[in-house]
Structures are given as C-alpha cells and as structure tokens.
Symmetry: C2
Subunit: 355 residues, 2 copies
Amino acid sequence: MPVSVKEVAERAGVSVGTVSNVLNRPESVKPATVERVNQVIDELGYVPNAAARQLRAGQSTSIALVVLDVANPFFTDVARGVESRASESGFSVLLANSDESVERESIYLDLFERQRVAGVLVSPIGDDLPHLLRLRSRGIPVVLVDRVSADDRFPSVSVDDVAGGRLAAQHLLDTGRRKLLFVGGPQKIRQVEDRLRGARKAVDQVPGAILEVVHTAALTLAEGRVAGEVARARVRAGQCDAVFAANDLLAIGMQQSMLGGPDAIRIPADVALVGYDDISFAAAAVVPVTSVRQPSGLIGATAVDLLLAEKDLGVDDRRQHIEFQPELVVRESSAARPESTRHGTATAQLTPDGT
Amino acid sequence: MPVSVKEVAERAGVSVGTVSNVLNRPESVKPATVERVNQVIDELGYVPNAAARQLRAGQSTSIALVVLDVANPFFTDVARGVESRASESGFSVLLANSDESVERESIYLDLFERQRVAGVLVSPIGDDLPHLLRLRSRGIPVVLVDRVSADDRFPSVSVDDVAGGRLAAQHLLDTGRRKLLFVGGPQKIRQVEDRLRGARKAVDQVPGAILEVVHTAALTLAEGRVAGEVARARVRAGQCDAVFAANDLLAIGMQQSMLGGPDAIRIPADVALVGYDDISFAAAAVVPVTSVRQPSGLIGATAVDLLLAEKDLGVDDRRQHIEFQPELVVRESSAARPESTRHGTATAQLTPDGT
DNA sequence: CTGAAAGCGCTAACAG
DNA sequence: CTGTTAGCGCTTTCAG
C-alpha cells in the first residue's frame, strides 16, 4: 500500500538515486527528468518516510519542548515563540507536558532521546543533570528555558526571577503593606524558590516588615483556590495585608476564593495581590491583577536561537546564558488602600513593631 | 559515539538478535543472559533508536493531536485527556497547533504523514477531506475532534454545538433579553457556525426577539476586546441587551473592554453575557461568565478510544460518531436585570413587537 | 547527469 | 534458548 522511492523510480524509468536527487538536490538533475519524476510522485501519492530518512541522517528534524504545564498560558506563549522561530529554520516542534512531575519529565526526555530529536528545550523541574548530560553526550543539544542551570553546564534563557520577586515585594512595601504572604510551590521548582528569595531580600530591608510562606502543591488555579482559604484566615486574623503569588494562575485562583463566600475579603482594601507572568487573564480578572511580566514569546524564540547556535558551533563552545529582566505591571489588585479603609488595620499593622 | 545493538551484543558476547530479544521479549531469554545484557546496556548507556525501530515496524508509537489553538484552555484540557488515555496504551502524544490557519494545519498533517504516526486526532478548520482521506489510505487512522465530518467518513467525537448555541440563547431569552448579539468567527470554523445556528433556532421561536451577528477574525481574547467595542456601541444605542460569544476567550475579552473606559457598560445590568467552553477562567472573570460547558477531558480520552478501535477493527468498519451534550453553567454575567434597571429599557424592548 | 550498491539500527523469521 | 540473516526506505558515494 505505501509507495516507496523504488516504485516511483520504476514507474518513472529512473533509478532510486535519481528520485532521491529530485527530492533533495533537484538542481543537479536534468529538468526533464525532474518533471517526469515529480509527475509520478503525484500520481502515486508518494510521501517520503521520515523514519527512513532520519535513520540515514542520524537525526530528526524536530526539536522538543518540554514545559512544566501546558495549561499555563505563560508556557503556551513560550511555545508559540519557539514554534515560530523553529519553523523559520525548518524545524517542527514537539510539545510535551511534564506537568511538574519529575517522572513524566524523565519519560519524555527518554522518548526524545530515542527519537534522536535535533535538540531539546526544557523547563526542568529539578536538576536532572545526569539525564540532560546524557542527551548531550549523544549529540542532542539541550537548552534550559526559563531557568539557569545550577552549574553552568547548559546554555539557558531565563528571566531574573530573584529580581522579579524583589520587584513584586518592593511594590507591596512601597504601597504601605508590611505583612506579606508568599504563596507558591512545590519548592523544587527553581522559579518558585528564586521569586521567594527576591521577595525576602526586599522585605529584609524594611524594618517591621514580615514575610510568611504558604506552600502549594502546584502552580495552578485549583491550588490557588485552596491557598485562598488559607490567606483568608490570615487576613481576617490581621496577620496579612499583602499576597505575592508565585504565578498568575495561583493569584487568580486565590482571588476567586477570597472574594467569594459570606466572609469575603476585599482586594485591594483588605489585602493586596500580586501575581507573576502577566498572562492575558491577569488583566481580565475580577480585580485586575498586578503582575510581573516576562517576555514569554521572546524567551521561546531566543531558546531556539541558542539551540541552533549550539548545533553549529559544537557542544564545547562557550555556553551562553541569556537573562531577561522582568517588568512590573501595576493594576488594581495592589492599589494603595484608601485612607479610611487603611486606618482600620493600621494599628494592628504597627503593633509588632512596638509602635 | 552513539552505541547500537551491535556494540552491546559484542560486549556482552551475544548476538544482536539476542539483544533485541532482551529488549522486546525478555521472557524468551535465559535470565542470566538477560541480566548480563542489561548490565552492558547500562554500562554503555545504550538507548534504542526509535527511527530504526519504526522503519521496521512501519509505524511509530506516537499519535498526533492537531488543535485550533493551544492558547485556548479548552484545547489544553482536551490535550490532557488525550495524553492520559494515550499513555495508558503506550502511545505518546505529539501536540501541534494549527492556530486556525488552514495552511498550518496542512503543514502539520503532511509532517505527520511523513512521520507515519500511529494516528491523527484533528480538530479541523475547514474540510480538508482530500488530505485526511490520504492519511487514511496510507493506513493512518484519523479521528475528528470536537467536530463531525460533513460527510460521515471519519469517526468523530464532538459536542452538540447546535444544542449548545440554543441553550445559551434560550437562557438569555428566558431571562428577558430580546436583542441578542452573536459574536464569533471566522465563519469557516464549524463550531462557530453551529453555535450560531442553534442560537438562531431559539431566537426564531420568540416573537420580537432579534439576533445580530458580529464576525471576529479569531476566537481569542484580543479579538474579544475588539468586539467589545462594537458591542459597547450597540448596547449604548439600545440595540443590544445580550451577547452570546462563540467561546469564553471572546467573552472574557469583550467583558474586559466593555467594563473599561469612561463609558463603561454594566454586566449584567446593561447587557447579559454568555460564553462557551466553561474554561476555568470563566468563573474567575471580573463578572463571572455564564458559559456552555463541554466535557473537554472526556472528549480527548474518547477520541483516543475511537482511534484505537479503528486501528484494531480496520478502516472499513462502521464509523462511530460520539456526541456529548453540552451543559449550561449560569453565573452572574447573565443574571436577570434588577427591575429598576430593567425598566428603563423595557419599553424599547417591547416596541418592535408592537406591544 | 544517472545508475548501482552499501549501509543507517533494528526486528523477525528461521535455523540450529 | 541463541545466532544468522534479510530487509524496512532512504541517502550517498562512486562509477559510468
């Protein structure tokens, strides 16, 4: 049923070598022959078998992108960047979803290793160095996305998450908040850790300001809703006047649960809220969410550039680490409290400080 | 550099056939040999070459999923359903994004045809029957997702979009709205057409009710924002008291632009809003959006089932068409207008009817 | 410019 | 239970 070069060759009265040349180097074949062969190809509906071609070439023409969560708009934006840049260079993109699971990440890396993809872009969960090193030793370049390798061994394109965390916290402090709550997790995700670290830096410089941490099991809307209940209690108890969520999904989920119910929390009157990523839904939330913006599409496109560079230059060249700076986008969720409202909790706010 | 079965065989002092057996039928090899070979495999870091295996097998172990828009949470939910069901059967999933472009859809279908994937799940834009038929004639089963084929030639899993459109419109009519605006596009997308058709059916049965249509270039947040401005003018002119958007992204985008600016429109006081898909952000929007829910994960999982069934039973068996029923989820965006507000436009509302 | 032939790495008979 | 061998479909020298 499936038609191969051989049949095309027979039918066109040429050899398989010539058919192959028509396909790959048509300029080196007599025009008349090219035409005749192409005609037969159409007639027979011949489609080259990628597996065979790849077997010879030793490598496929696809690059893989493994993300932490396809349901997170940030990553789909990155994926778009990757895809458009990759297709310009003739590569197609295989998108895989590790879902924040180390195991699934590993399964996909194995799969892509067996497939001998042309390269792997990965937003790794932990630091599965052995696995990544093995890919590379097999000639498959690896570029870390949205993450710098702990030990500088892989090229990477990332955003300064520590700076981003600091931006977010500083903004909250600047607008008069003092009891911050950081919400994020799992801790093994470097982005979460860095954003927290940045926030802590800002908080540590303001006397009397405190930073509590609530861990979540994942960076999703659903986890945000759960965390929202925790935050609600903290706010009600006067222990929290600002929340910094490790990403926008969490922030939006939290907002949803905090605003609901009979004991609704007001945002930003009772508590300020800042998220991370600036996904398009952040601006569309009940209370538009202040967020730390990352250049998602650019991250993806740049990652492809680094990958192609590594392919050309060879593995042992100097690794590049490209780091973008995040940007704070202020919206209503973190507006300074109107004096009237603010006053009510002002005393409680200053108490721990002894004032 | 890359190590093959041959080297493993040499090092373990066995033949390549035995190595292959250890890999694929270990029960038919003496335990001691299995162990020795496995040890060498680890030592050498051998990883089987998928291309070679596939070349022999004639087919890969991946199934492809081509969606209209990866940035649409509805499709990522479908993708999750596909992925989990596929992995249970040992298939991996290649996700591709046609981005509502016929051309890109075609490029991906070609790619997957060359890759001889085990099957293709596609949410087609138009009706590229020739392309799909060719895939099938090549032994690659095709299942339509979220869409019934015009001519019954492919198995499909879909949701009754006409019923969904009717549900939405009926709900708006039931809550007293009469001047409906349908927003969606491009028209070539069947889902859009069907939802409109359903809405029209409901509207046609209510004397005095009208349905206008605004076309959009895509089903995205950004397009929704544009359409929101159009709707704003219509509402202000008293020509519209309800909007039915073809999906939630549009609805949320519209809401965002209508609620903003100096001339803000109130939802649901001035206009009711209903979306489609019930993505998780719908409930989290400024005004929680009433939406028509589709069982997204189930759609994906079922599509995989049909695909595997077609593989087993052979192409010529009776095609299955599975159709789920949508469900209306009522939220604040379509609440009936409070009497006070409603009264203002009530006269205008009844005028066309002559009452 | 075209043909013949040698594999790429793997699996599936078929012998032993 | 294990070894030998013949391709899967393609590209790529190397001769003509």
